[in-house]
């Protein structure tokens, strides 16, 4: 029974595909996967927006949207309707074709990135040998879309925002890739499914996820930092930076085009969270051995995904934004050296005998590097809390 | 399956287009774009020959393309840096005006 529940969607798809003649079957199978992906993630987008707004509201001691539907949960529908019927404004000096294509060019690659993630046992839409590379390749496509949007709007703020966004995305792509290289090194494969399978099993109660190793934890944290920057979320949301450059590259977008940008950003966030889950958090594996069989695998994937979304919301509700040059400094002078050292640590981990020694060696390298780099970042500018004097 | 010579024709066409662009346009950046196109045409040839070779497991063509992509990235970076440096000096990216040897 639990087996069937676990494989429910796989069986469902096989059953549906079975209605078609044999030569059509591969195509139909892909189409079903595509439809399912778009449906699931569009729904997740709606849920994530309402969760974000309500969560932020609670963090700020407000209710958040609570008027449309039960507890305000139909708010995304109302928002979507509003976006659809809003006037689509194109600035008079804009490059109309590029202005039109930019939101599409943003959303399409992100949807492609969804296709390589394994969502559950036997539930990867496409099983590619170079799956992780695909992910980063399509991620590179979004940079161009951002440039198209910023450049075509003929607005200083949007151009500044696009420039910032591209600079930021390129800078953080390097640590993003380098921090996932550790996992690829250890597993010895770029196949997402194989990476997930490598994290199966338990050591006592502790699952064999990469995040429970020193290099994995460091890699995960660095990956999370880079992912936050890559998906333009607070505290790295300079490209939008509404208090500085108004809204960045999509200042001049309205109506459904704006909604597409919004959606693209959320999809990017989901995709990169999905990758982090695949690489470090054991993909669709359950956190505890006895839950492995009783709860379907895809549930675990989405539970972890929601955990990520909650984390992003929490960060957004707490932190102010970094400055654009500090962001670059942080990328090149802290995150990048840390990822490089992390690769070293992962290599040592691979070749040292299992036991306390390799734990100790890895921990010393990583903690030492963290303390030294952190100290040097702060000390150079003399950043510290201050004491104040008082006049009576 | 598309036969090999069609890939080769396409590659020749791309090479021609790139060459025409590199030789006829005034803007240094378009010239660079033309060069990139020619490089890519060559890459397509490598891949096509690898695909139709008797020993694809040797992966020689793939390796060549991999290295060529790496070199292309370096070439683009240096080329564009040169263009920007020249632009700073002459205030133009127009090749016809880079006619002085004096710095």
């Amino acid at each position: 029974m639990q087996e069937i529940l676990d494989q429910l969607f796989v069986l469902l798809k096989a059953w549906l595909v079975g209605f078609f003649p044999l030569p059509w079957q591969p195509l139909v199978s892909i189409l079903i996967s595509v439809a399912a992906l778009i449906l699931v993630f569009a729904l997740l987008f709606a849920v994530a927006t309402i969760l974000e707004r309500k969560g932020l509201g609670r963090i700020q001691n407000r209710y958040g949207p609570n008027r449309v539907g039960p507890c305000g949960f139909f708010q995304p529908i109302a928002d979507g309707l509003k976006m659809l019927i809003k006037e689509d404004i194109v600035p008079s000096g804009a490059d109309r074709v590029v202005h039109f294509l930019a939101p599409i060019a943003l959303v399409a690659p992100v949807l492609l990135a969804f296709s390589v993630l394994p969502y559950g046992r036997n539930m990867a839409p496409i099983d590619l040998d170079a799956g992780i590379v695909v992910f980063f390749a399509v991620g590179a496509g979004t940079e161009l879309a951002v440039f198209m949007a910023g450049w075509s709007s003929r607005n200083k703020y949007s151009l500044l925002g696009a420039m910032r966004a591209i600079a930021q995305m390129i800078s953080y792509e390097v640590p993003l890739i380098l921090s996932s290289v550790t996992v690829i090194m250890i597993v010895g494969s770029l196949r997402p499914i194989q990476i997930v399978e490598a994290q199966a099993g338990y050591q006592g109660w502790l699952p064999a996820w990469h995040v429970f190793t020193p290099w994995g934890l460091a890699g995960f944290l660095l990956f999370a930092i880079a992912a936050t920057a890559e998906s333009n979320r607070s505290p790295f949301d300079m490209p939008e930076g509404e208090s500085e450059i108004v809204a960045g590259y999509f200042v001049e977008y309205s109506g459904f085009k704006f909604a597409l940008f919004f959606m693209g950003e959320y999809f990017g966030m989901f995709a990169i969270s999905g990758l982090a889950i695949t690489l470090f958090l054991g993909g669709w594996h359950a956190p505890l051995p006895f839950l492995e069989k009783s709860i379907p695998s895809y549930v675990w994937f989405f539970v972890k995904l929601f955990g990520f979304i909650a984390m992003f919301i929490w960060l957004r509700g707490t932190l102010p934004r970094l400055r654009v040059d500090q962001l670059m400094n942080f990328a090149w002078k802290f995150v990048l050296p840390m990822t490089l050292l992390n690769i070293l640590a992962a290599g040592l981990w691979r070749f040292l005998p299992a036991g306390a020694t390799r734990w100790l060696v890895c921990l010393v390298i990583l903690l030492g590097a963290f303390l030294a780099l952190g100290r040097s970042m702060v000390a150079r500018r003399k950043w510290s809390p201050r004491k104040y004097r008082f006049a009576e | 399956m598309t036969p090999l010579h069609q890939y080769l024709f396409l590659s020749a066409l791309l090479f021609g287009v790139g060459l025409a662009g590199a030789l006829t346009r005034r803007n240094a950046i378009i010239v660079l774009i033309g060069i990139e196109l020619m490089l890519n045409a060559a890459n397509l040839n490598f891949i096509a020959f690898w695909r139709f070779s008797r020993h694809p497991e040797l992966a020689t063509g793939l390796m060549f393309v991999l290295f060529s992509i790496g070199i292309a990235a370096a070439e683009a970076a240096v080329g564009l840096a040169l263009i920007i440096a020249i632009y700073r000096h002459y205030r133009t990216a127009n090749l016809d005006q880079f006619d002085s040897m004096k710095g």
């Binding site: 170079a130 | 598309t2 036969p3 070199i71 292309a72």
Partner: protein, 166 residues
């Protein structure tokens, strides 16, 4: 002709032609991206999966962005009504047509027209990596050195002469 190939070939060629012929430089760069993406799809069709995605990663993600930045950095003060073709464009076009003709004739007359279609190879990334680390380790190191040198060189060339980088 295979329809998928025809479509990709058309897309790539159109992108390439537009990239070298449009007046607006940013449009040129964007069309170049189309050509690169078409080529990547062609690589995928030729079973070179890793190379295809690397092509997108490097060309679309890096080279195109570099070109776009260079365009924005160099187009500040140029009037928009200058001729786009160089003074010696007839000669250049002639050379290009000659080369294209020669290549076309060479391909058309060579034996590759009758080359048999071999079964699709399935190179795994792992095999590529092993090749890189065994047979091609020297080229790999040289490429690494070259990239480092290029990076340093590019930074030095593009740096402001008097005031250092920020």
């Amino acid at each position: 002709m295979d329809p998928v190939f025809a479509f990709l070939a058309l897309l790539t060629t159109a992108g390439a032609v537009a990239a070298v012929s449009l007046r607006n430089l940013v449009h040129c760069a964007l069309c170049l991206v189309v050509a690169f993406a078409g080529l990547a799809a062609l690589y995928l069709q030729l079973n070179a999966q890793f190379i295809g995605f690397a092509q997108i990663l490097v060309y679309v993600g890096a080279v195109a962005i570099l070109i776009v930045f260079a365009i924005l950095l160099t187009r500040g003060s140029e009037p928009g009504n200058q001729p786009i073709l160089s003074s010696s464009w007839q000669a250049g076009l002639g050379v290009a047509v000659l080369v294209l003709g020669a290549l076309g004739v060479a391909v058309a007359s060579s034996f590759v027209r009758y080359y048999p279609v071999s079964p699709a190879p399935q190179p795994t990334v792992r095999e590529l990596g092993e090749q890189l680390m065994t047979n091609y380790v020297l080229p790999l190191e040289v490429i690494g050195l070259l990239l480092t040198a290029a990076m340093i060189g590019a930074v030095i060339i593009a740096m402001h002469e008097k005031q250092g980088p920020r």
